[in-house]
């Protein structure tokens, strides 16, 4: 019974993890309270958006993964910072569009040139990074101050970033679980051959998943650029590991076909608590990375064996 409930509500794991880490931080720092929750969820924003994007791509199955995410984020942060000083909405729209185009390129190369997703996104990631390196000196990197104050405003105690995350997560939940596209994406991820015979346009589904993922990375870039006060070349790399970890700990099946928006959100929160904890515990960067890496491998061992049992 408990096992069944655990299988059904996989977000319980990251939820428990978050609560545990919350307590641990309290013990280490001597400070308890809601503020910690608010600040952690605010800091979780960027990894969360990337993790959701990763979840969509991975759900497409067949080893699909997007390794270019953090570079898309960086590029879009530059684009938005540059254009927002002309017009806020223009900057936002352009950044999301650029993100979506990067994703589209990934999908098209993956599907039509039949290059494995991993290699495709590895390659495009470096190309995007090069674009960043070339374009960066010519771009304005300081964000629009109006937008920054909007981002940093509060809504009943919640940061505006958290509000945006919740809205995005809700929209995604509707898309993935309530629409035709969502169903078809999950079907494709479970069994591409069967999906083809069911009449699903598999190519479209996968390319769209990459595009949507890219757009989300673009949005993350916009917010991140504004939040940390400007774009810089290496800004995306911090979020790489937390986002991958959050995507998988939240209940995304590495083999595809299964996603969990709530789980991934809580997973990102947990990773954010984790970072705060590692900082609060005053561990050296080396130990922090070590613990993070070991943690990720352990999560994978646990979660993958779970899903294989179910078969």
């Amino acid at each position: 019974m408990i096992k069944k409930a655990l299988n059904q509500y996989e977000f319980i794991w990251p939820l428990l993890g978050s609560v545990l880490l919350w307590g641990l931080i309290g013990i280490v720092s001597g400070k308890f309270g809601m503020n910690l929750l608010f600040s952690s969820s605010k800091l979780a924003t960027f990894a969360l958006l990337l993790a959701l994007a990763q979840m969509i791509v991975v759900t497409g199955g067949d080893g699909a993964i997007d390794l270019s995410q953090t570079y898309i984020l960086t590029l879009c942060a530059y684009v938005s910072s540059h254009l927002m000083n002309t017009n806020i909405l223009l900057g936002l729209a352009a950044a999301v569009l650029v993100g979506a185009l990067c994703g589209l390129a990934n999908g098209v190369i993956n599907i039509y040139l039949k290059v494995p997703a991993m290699i495709t996104t590895l390659a495009t990631g470096y190309i995007i990074f090069t674009v960043v390196l070339l374009a960066a000196p010519k771009m304005k990197t300081l964000p629009n101050s109006e937008f920054v104050s909007f981002i940093n405003s509060n809504f009943h105690g919640f940061s505006m970033l958290t509000v945006i995350c919740i809205i995005v997560a809700l929209l995604l939940a509707v898309l993935l679980y309530k629409t035709k596209y969502g169903k078809q994406l999950h079907a494709t991820g479970q069994n591409r051959t069967a999906a083809k015979y069911t009449g699903i346009n598999v190519n479209f589904i996968i390319v769209a998943a990459f595009t949507l993922g890219g757009a989300l990375c673009g949005l993350a870039g916009v917010l991140c650029g504004a939040f940390i006060g400007g774009a810089f070349q290496d800004m995306g790399s911090t979020y790489f590991l937390p986002s991958i970890a959050a995507a998988f700990v939240g209940g995304t099946a590495a083999s595809g076909g299964k996603s969990n928006v709530a789980g991934v959100c809580l997973g990102s929160l947990m990773m954010s608590f984790m970072t705060t904890f590692l900082n609060a515990a005053r561990l050296s960067p080396g130990f922090q990375k070590l613990i993070l890496g070991a943690f990720l491998v352990l999560i994978l061992v646990a979660s993958v064996s779970n899903s294989s049992k179910k078969k």
């Binding site: 495709t120 069994n191 069967a194 991958i244 990375k289 070991a294």
Partner: protein, 818 residues
């Protein structure tokens, strides 16, 4: 060899039952096997021949019955016991590693597993292989050095057959359709070989659809039907016609319901005129509205290809496509291969049915739960699922119930024409009847079906049927003519293709050079060296080469390390950081505390092979494991060296700076590295296992080698390469920085792709990889001397990756077109 009167059987199968759930695949089957006897086993599709063979080879345990060997009953019977008593089977699906050469496939089976190999073992193995092939198939012209994938299907079949003859204590040889791809003279040779074996006292079970051949070769013919014995006969005393009749059985006359065929509609749903593809020849067929049309014939006569071609035509509806298929309605496809092409395993019945028609349950943009559930509930009740409800997971259902859901999916899709690809495979008789009822009902509503079944009796429910053989339609049967007997007769009808397929391969030195996997990287390397030399002639001098090649060494090792993981079908996404870790270990730890440093390096190798074990045992994608592990490497590196520092040890500098006469030291290191890797993979005995697991792990395990051990070895060798990469990196940059080597991950992957390795595993070229690495590093030099912004360099690598893979795609397509 005829058996003597008083001889007792070597092996007896007594009253063997095999049930899959409620499906009775075998019922009280009896088979005696005498030494030196050739048994011809015949039976129509689905008669239970393959199941029986799987029981004899120990792959499947029988549900009931006894297995006796030399009159002793065996209580435990698995593949191990089967091997011990000398049973060997030539599998239809060929259990060869196609990336290995012919003699390696043979050697894998009988070579000792010791670490050291005897001198000239290859020479010996080649000779043995050649002799073996020559003994049974004289003048076969098979080059034992050739990779199996380059052989024709017939040659593969010969190799597979001979492989089964390798067994030391061979007593019973099972040949499952051994001549399906062989030409007449080769089939003759096989028959002669079978006779020879039989004279040596080896029993042969010969399964074939070619009845004349069975009559020719066997001492005794055993007939099977519907999972039961149908009697035996002596080949000389029976006519082929009689055999066909016995297989088809008495003509059942349950055609009464078919008399009441309603007035036929003349609306044509599907019209195929003269369809010819690689595996189909001059197909003409049509399907009318409200008709169930059958498709039958021996398995593998092109039926599935035909169904797929029809399904593909849905994209150009109501237009005649150039291959002659005209489809006038929407189409759905129901597959009987549920696991591969049918179910969505993570879902319940509800979603599995619904997925084909989401538009029907949409309200605005969103799906309406209520409408959706009503729809599936309707089908759930109608089809009488044996389950808890519409939300039972599909995987908890029996095969028959899963199939019901799939058929419901096909009908729910709203398509007017439904293709059924063997929909009742492994479905019990009760469910089958329900499925037939469902088809009848849908037919009355004006739907049309094209039913392909591997069970001949099932075609009897059809209004019309096409029988195929070797990609051609040999017969069209109308309602009353559809009997198993007629189907069997038409299935065996000989066909002569007007179009002859050419297997002539041209062998000349030009194609050998251009076909080599090392061609592209070596050519790129030479071009890069020439272009660089043109820009700056100084680089061809001793010191120039030493400097340039020196900076290429770390990449060569990194790429070779990547190659050892790729050869087993995985990928290492973390080698950028693991090289960084080695860099730190060498420059910081090894210089201050050599013993601890060496220990750390050994632990590192163990950690890598543990990673390989994790990938295999837990079945986690290697990409994710290595991604996670990279942070462990980085973590350790940062602990040992939080800030860049350290120095390259003297002995390392001494090696690196050693002034070798004429040829600069780095070039020597490069050649040694590539040569050693090549030796491990292509000369050493265990190398063929290391390559084999990347291609066909099952075949490797069947030959008695451990998959896990081979994979761990691959990872461990990769770790050693990473250590060399880290050392040479230290020697090049003279210090340690945990983050400095990150780019090697991407570069090494690009290099092995340029170097001609297959990411899918099994096919790697050490020399190509080394050349590729040099080319990559010269590209960087070129960009620098062209004063290209250094920022471009990563992008160039990215483009090379995509470009090379795209070229491969195009060249593969060309090969396919040949």
């Amino acid at each position: 060899m005829k058996r003597k009167q008083e001889q007792s059987p070597y092996m007896e199968l007594v009253e063997i039952d095999k049930f899959f759930g409620v499906t009775k695949a075998l019922q009280k089957v009896h088979l005696d096997i005498y030494e030196g006897e050739v048994i011809g086993l015949v039976g129509s599709n689905g008669a239970g021949k393959s199941t029986l063979m799987k029981i004899i080879t120990g792959i499947l345990p029988p549900t009931g019955g006894q297995i006796k060997v030399r009159s002793q009953e065996l209580s435990r019977y698995t593949t191990k016991e089967a091997k011990e008593i000398g049973i060997s089977c030539a599998y239809q699906d060929l259990s060869l590693c196609s990336n290995l050469s012919v003699y390696e496939n043979f050697a894998m089976l009988n070579i000792d597993h010791g670490l050291l190999s005897k001198r000239y073992w290859r020479k010996k193995a080649k000779k043995e292989a050649k002799d073996l092939l020559e003994q049974y198939f004289p003048n076969n012209n098979i080059d034992v050095m050739m990779a199996v994938e380059k052989l024709t299907l017939a040659e593969k079949q010969i190799v597979e057959t001979c492989k089964t003859l390798m067994m030391e204590n061979l007593k019973i040889l099972i040949l499952d359709e051994p001549t399906s791809a062989l030409s007449t003279d080769k089939a003759r040779q096989l028959q002669k070989a079978v006779k020879e074996l039989s004279n040596k006292g080896i029993a042969v079970i010969y399964i074939s659809h070619k009845l004349d051949e069975i009559k020719e070769v066997s001492d005794r013919i055993v007939l099977m039907r519907n999972g039961q014995n149908m009697g035996e006969c002596i080949p000389d005393e029976i006519q082929t016609q009689e055999l066909i009749q016995m297989l088809g059985g008495e003509n059942k006359s349950n055609k009464s319901d078919k008399e009441s065929i309603q007035k036929k509609s003349n609306e044509i749903i599907l019209d195929i005129k003269n369809l010819t593809t690689k595996s189909l020849y001059n197909i003409d067929m049509e399907v009318k509205k409200g008709e169930i049309v059958g498709l039958s014939g021996l398995v593998g006569s092109g039926q599935t290809q035909l169904l797929n071609a029809i399904f593909e035509a849905r994209k150009r509806m109501e237009k005649s496509s150039k291959n002659g298929i005209k489809l006038n309605s929407t189409v759905a496809y129901v597959s009987g291969d549920r696991a591969k092409a049918g179910v969505f395993p993570l879902w319940d019945i509800h979603n599995n049915i619904l997925i084909s028609n989401l538009d029907q349950v949409k309200k605005g943009l969103l799906l309406n739960k209520k409408i959706a559930q009503d729809l599936t509930k309707h089908w759930y009740d109608k089809l009488k699922f044996r389950a808890e409800g519409i939300h039972s997971p599909i995987m908890s259902l029996s095969g028959g119930n899963q199939q019901k859901a799939l058929i419901a999916r096909g009908i729910v899709s709203g398509a007017d024409f439904i293709i059924l690809n063997d929909p009742t495979a492994g479905v019990d008789i009760g469910t089958k009847q329900e499925i037939y009822g469902l088809l009848e009902e849908a037919k009355k509503e004006g739907k049309s079906f094209l039913l392909y079944s591997t069970e001949d009796a099932e075609i009897e429910i059809c209004d019309r049927a096409y029988i195929m053989h070797k990609g051609e339609i040999t017969e069209e049967l109308n309602a009353l003519e559809i009997t198993v007997a007629n189907i069997v007769k038409a299935s065996f009808k000989e066909v002569v293709h007007k179009k002859q397929t050419n297997h002539n391969k041209k062998h000349n030195w030009l194609s050998a050079v251009t076909g080599s996997r090392a061609m592209l990287p070596v050519a790129t390397m030479l071009i890069m060296i020439l272009v660089n030399a043109y820009m700056n002639p100084n680089i061809l001098s001793y010191s120039g080469l030493r400097m340039l090649m020196g900076s290429a060494v770390p990449l060569v090792f990194a790429a070779l390390g990547q190659m050892f993981i790729v050869v087993s079908g995985d990928i290492d996404m973390g080698n950028g950081y693991s090289i960084g870790l080695i860099n730190v270990l060498v420059a910081v730890v090894l210089t201050s505390n050599p013993i601890f440093g060496i220990m750390a390096l050994l632990i590192f190798i163990a950690a890598y092979s543990l990673m390989g074990a994790l990938v295999h045992v837990r079945n986690i994608p290697a990409i994710v494991v290595t991604l996670g592990a990279q942070f462990i490497w980085l973590g350790f590196a940062l602990i040992f060296a939080p800030t860049p520092g350290g120095y390259s040890p003297e002995w390392l500098n001494a090696i690196y700076k050693f002034k070798f006469p004429v040829i600069p030291m780095p070039i020597i290191i490069l050649i040694i590295a590539a040569a050693v890797s090549w030796y491990i993979l292509y000369r050493a005995k265990y190398g063929m296992i290391l390559r084999g697991i990347g291609n066909n792990p099952i075949a490797v395990e069947r030959s008695g080698w451990s998959y896990l051990r081979a994979k761990m070895t691959n990872y461990a060798i990769s770790a050693v390469m990473v250590i060399f990469a880290g050392m040479s990196f230290t020697a090049v940059c003279l210090g340690a920085d945990a983050n400095a080597a990150v780019s090697y991950c991407m570069l090494s992957i690009a290099t092995i792709i340029l170097g001609g390795c297959e990411m899918a595993g099994g096919l790697v070229t050490p020399a190509g990889v080394a050349a590729g690495a040099i080319a990559m590093s010269f590209i960087t030099t070129l960009l620098t001397s062209l004063r290209v912004d250094s920022n471009f360099q990563t992008a160039v690598t990215g483009f090379i990756l995509i470009f090379v893979l795209a070229i491969k795609l195009i060249s593969h397509k060309k090969e396919g077109a040949k």
